[in-house]
Symmetry: D3
Subunit: 152 residues, 6 copies
């Protein structure tokens, strides 16, 4: 509700916050297959799943990733000074089953000048864990952020 | 329709293919906001969008990314020898507007042994372009692939 | 299928009907969160829900309300003589859990002249109950209805 | 991101805030018909709509209402001290067309003791306007709020 | 709203009714591709469509067909004496474009005894036309209907 | 990935293939009711279903049918030489319950000349079975296919 949007200078290395949680439902997995067009049998074919080592339908890795972006939006809100630059790394070290509940911790880990003197590039890790505290998605997210006081 | 799934040895550096296309609709953007929970005004608030340099609502970068995964599935199908290892890099060098049509070129760019002798790690670039040939999403995708003949 | 739409004069105080039923699924709750943008943890975070007195994810009150409007449409159909004027009162005296089945009883409780002599304002209660007969949503709905014979 | 949730005593009469905006799309109307089951021709039949005074398909009034609940959630977040008690009044004084952008102003207008000494009942108006500042939905929302210091 | 459901004897050859209308939106086509998994480029790739004789993305034939089933439900309601036996013929003599409005005429064309003396098989044509009166979907629908008075 | 699309001459009587599988979820049934507008209580009202011989909510027959079209697309891909001519017969000999997994076998059963010398009409059966091998949907699908060498 604040109008005081943060600028590049206002972000501090190591600052962090935790989002709210979201339970991954069968609906979410069906919806992700539908939305993306990725109907891999690991996600939508229970008979196939039973024949594999994991034995259950599981969430798409990218479902977990895009849900983390929504959880972050709902906690951090919009900041017009920040643009999505891209991702440096995405890993899926754990499996998300139907019924698991995820939440995401965001931590600033790097800041450096951008090519343009008006902006900086901020890197934050976005670590999504399940209800047992196991990491299921790890992201290095790069943001292009306006400086309050560009260097002359 | 073939049962001859490729193993790690069968992938060749520089081999590539192009997916079919998909037009990004207003529906897709609304659905991505709904599915992910990311209701950033850049995507769903036309009045905000008009006040910004781009002037229009645009697709979420991650919408383009997840759509590319569906296009790849629909072209390449499922291969039980292949697991998603993660992403080394994601960039969004171009903007996707409502009505743009995207397709994705997949190219094998790297192969190396995995820690386990039974598997290799394959890196493929997934380059999504719009109808004018401009790159709008660039991904380095790492796959964990079973070897046909693990080294003794 | 009839073309004989009712006018204001045709509605009688105390006349009533019951709609068909609809089972509230996890899908409906996820869809309501997605559609409305209301991702309150009471509805989508099982871990949060378990920490609260109710112990389970529950349906949004407004989900029950909007579902009652669909059930009414499917029973009563469309009447071009009737416009939605608004609601005088909405209460949620009971909780709707995943798997509950709701239906709605509609009863005319008040009729009065509108400011315009061509129309009347009709109030109907829309009482939604679950499969145990417990009221879970109570609405006073005001309709603006064309008169067959406007007073001179 | 704060853990300092407001209690009943912390809300002040006349305090207010404005949510972010959301553009109402054809997708949202189709989705509302699908979700609720209310396929009234005013919303989904362009030929019927052309035969009526308004001439265009329009949003369900309740679509605007439920979207306002999502906009409020995205601005105000979750407060475990607050429960939805119901609505005292809902009015739809204006029409929402495809392409209109809505936002909601929330203002505290009344506070009174509840039957239970541990809680109070707070009434806030939720006034949704379009991009021209015209009110399209007006709601009196009653909330059941925990007191920090219940009277002995 | 009536409890007097029709039995086999009550249906008369040549009896017919017309449903309400529904406008086919881009949303519906995207949703049909998502729901069915049929992402044929004729429906979702505008660049492909422009290269074909028809020049535009068009609705899936089966989208029109399943929408006609919904329109029929909304007009005729549920009858527990009637079961879906199957379809004798489906044809798509016309193309449905985004923005077209369809409605369906249902006509009883045949009645015959079923193998079981308790039931009859009724055939009704379901003819869906667009706003210009052109037939876009023609269906011969067979229903298995309980008799009021089974022959001894 | 091949550019060598089949022509009419290339299809052989008795040639066949099997699609991948898809598990029918509660989500799919709710989505089919929403998408089609067919909210028959057999599919969405658990209390009604319990009162009927089958005792459970079941999938719409047409849900199974449209899912088979998606499964076929995902296996066979797009062929610009093939157009949907219609269906000669659809039957639903078995019931699909929530949690069942379906797949479809496609077999060419007939080929004949079309009125236009440039095309032929091919009939293929599309037989959808559940995880126990029981047929739940049987379709005779007619395709209008371009000839490589039209007869002079």
């Amino acid at each position: 509700m604040s109008n005081e949007y943060k600028f590049f200078e206002d972000f501090k290395i190591e600052e962090s916050y935790m989002t709210a949680g979201r339970t991954i439902t069968e609906t979410d997995i069906v919806m992700h297959a539908m939305h993306s067009g990725d109907f891999m049998p690991h996600h939508i074919d229970e008979e196939f799943a039973k024949s594999q080592p994991i034995k259950h339908r599981i969430a798409h890795g990218n479902l977990t990733f895009v849900f983390s972006t929504g959880l972050i939006f709902q906690t951090a809100g919009m900041n017009p000074n920040v643009m999505n630059y891209g991702y440096g790394k995405i890993r899926y070290p754990g499996i998300v089953y139907i019924g698991d509940t995820i939440k995401t911790e965001v931590k600033v880990v790097d800041k450096k000048d951008a090519k343009q003197p008006t902006h900086g590039v901020l890197t934050q890790t976005e670590t999504t864990t399940n209800q047992r505290g196991e990491t299921v998605c790890y992201v290095e997210h790069m943001l292009y952020v306006t400086k309050r006081n560009p260097k002359a």
